[in-house]
Subunit: 201 residues, 2 copies
DNA sequence: GACTTTGTGGACCACCTGGTCAACTAACGG
DNA sequence: CCGTTAGTTGACCAGGTGGTCCACAAAGTC
């Protein structure tokens, strides 16, 4: 019943997300959102409630996508050995950050640093996404250990969070304009956290 | 000649820095700065130019302090073996982030994620600080290699940036409320990047 | 104690902020 | 084709925005 919505929710959320991504929460005004979406203020508020709800929804959708992407890249279906999948995924992320122009890193990092400090809903979205991505890394590491490719004494769960940290770290570094080879060096050296099963120190 | 300034520049910069740290660049208004410093708007603008200059100055001062602190913690004077100095420094940072209430992480991370994307002066401050901290780590690693404590095939420069990345990473994680033991696990596993000189894989 | 110079405080400016509202428009059921 | 429901639009609101300006206050010079 009633009039049909004249726009697609998902499309608008993507446009909105890009605005928040590029200019931050406080730096994005309702007029910026109107301009970017082509919608009237009333339509936006009717569909999403208020600015904060809209932000949270865009961020949530984005972080779900991130988790899905991490799972896909780290699962056996992605091909390659577990250790190679980890390295390929991290390398792809480092390259994608470097290729951005203008630089914008990852929206989840932006949202976390922007708001999570004193915005519990945002913090929860971030914590959740970080935990699930860390788990995906941990599962890949465990697979590598089962296959005899990764040393069995590695703490898979801890290393999962290490890789999540490294991603957030190269994100921040890339935002400052640090060059791609440096970021790739970070990824390369981070791989030492999952050494082969040789007689390690 | 002329009236004396009625406040200390350094004191005011610290107060201002805390405001920007807690609320971000866009989230801090000139009125917030007036309230926090107790100064009139005219005095602030007279002393610092405009909001952006003021921010940049607070950030620059902060990042110089960070670099100094990193150098002190990683230099031989800090005591302990090179490898221990690295681990102690990273551990201290992880603990300090966890102890914050409210959470606020590191101001340099905040500034970088907030503005560096499209603010070259801020990006330069960040790039510079990251590079110098990475160098401090690298020097400690080289010292460890000379002392036979760290495997000689480790790429000290790359590992320096890895540790900088890890700090930025645990910063972001801690902002989302991830617990201290997890952050300490990240530090512990990151230490695998500078293994002892045994027969490594 | 005038004069110059620098610092201070707050009024003031033009404009932007997030959010609301009421008149209006489209789609469906009967 | 008429009521009901939901979506759209733009005017409107109260208060906040970064920045400027000017009358005034202190400090040093002669």
């Amino acid at each position: 019943m009633g009039r049909k919505r004249g726009f697609d929710l998902g499309d608008v959320l993507e446009v909105v997300r890009d605005q928040f991504w590029d200019h931050g929460y406080e730096g994005t005004s309702t007029y910026d959102l109107m301009d970017a979406t082509g919608l009237g203020k009333g339509s936006i508020y009717k569909a999403f409630g208020n600015k904060h709800d809209l932000y949270l929804r865009a961020l949530t959708e984005y972080s779900e996508g991130l988790v899905t992407q991490a799972r896909a890249a780290l699962s056996p279906e992605a091909g390659g050995s577990p250790r190679a999948r980890v390295e390929n995924y991290l390398t792809a992320i480092a390259r994608s950050f470097s290729a951005q122009s203008p630089r914008r890193g990852c929206f989840l990092t932006k949202g976390t640093v922007d708001l999570a400090d004193n915005d519990e809903p945002v913090a929860e979205v971030a914590r959740n996404a970080f935990a699930r991505i860390a788990t995906s890394f941990a599962e890949a590491v465990e697979a590598g250990q089962s296959a005899g490719e990764i040393a069995p004494d590695v703490d898979a769960a801890a290393v999962g969070y290490l890789f999540v940290s490294v991603i957030r770290g190269i994100d921040t570094l890339s935002r400052s304009g640090i060059a791609e080879p440096v970021l790739l060096g970070v990824v390369r050296t981070a791989m030492a956290a999952i050494p082969g099963p040789g007689i390690a120190a």
